[in-house]
Amino acid sequence: MNCETVRDAIHELFDDDPAMPLGGAVEAHMASCAECREFLAEMTALRSALRALPREPLPSAVLDGVWRDTVRARRVALWRAAAAAVVVTALGAGTYFVSSRPSGPSQAELARAEAQAELVFGYTARALAATHDAAARNVIERKVSPAVRGETSPRTSRRSS
């Protein structure tokens, strides 16, 4: 087994799991080859260095921008939709209320009512006139008491005499 084959095996090892054993032939080569041992050490150090590279958190201002444009914006939109729904409902209810009110009388109904009123007033006026005439006749014909006719009563005249 030569160095190139062993280094390929080391790469394969890093592709899978560096903790796995290299295998008898590779181990035997490594035991006698300082360069391949160094190669393995360098590969291990490289992986450690790569995983230790500094990692920076996403700046908080950027994260705030994400929340503002996503979750918070959705909340605002929901509140606006709810407010709009309330307004639309109120407008709808108002419109329904106004439109469901009984409409006013038509011209024909007004004319009919006026004619009926005039008829009733006419009857009433005639009845009043007839009553007045009958009362007058009763007074004239002495069918009612003198007090009704405007004369003093006999008892009153006897006391005065």
């Binding site: 050490a41 150090a45 790569l50 995983r51 590279l53 990692r55 996403l58 994400v66 444009d69 996503t70």
Partner: protein, 169 residues
Amino acid sequence: MTTIEFQAAVLEHKDRVHNYARYLIRDPDEASDIAQECLLRLWRHRDQVEPGPACRNWLLRAAHNLCIDRVRRRSTRMEIRQDDAPDPADGRPDALRVAQSAQAARLLQHALSELTDRDRAIVLLREIEGLPYDEIAELLGLNLGTLKATLHRAREKLRVALTRAEVMP
């Protein structure tokens, strides 16, 4: 994906997406923009994305595509900033170790930046994010053989770069 699941996914994956974009595109401001755009896209497509690994892969794919689009649009490559390594002149053991570690990280980032975008993406997804090969292959549209051969080549470039810089053991 419900709103609650979306919130959980954002909290779980936001840093992963941010760091993937940061190392792939090598520009902190653009990486933040890309991470934000990915999360907003997830919100818009939340009805089509399942929570869990599918969501993670969806976000990484979105970040990858956005990074590649931006890299293609810009003509010049950004250089890794060299001014954030601690001063190794401080001789205290802890400071020296931190300085060496920071130097190794800086050199590794530089070596990563020398890889092609695709090779760097493969290294990031496998070695940093720890994604399984089949998911990386599906995410990047590669077959497994090509993926493994590319990863071996990229690892070798990084190993050589760090060995030359004498930060390896």
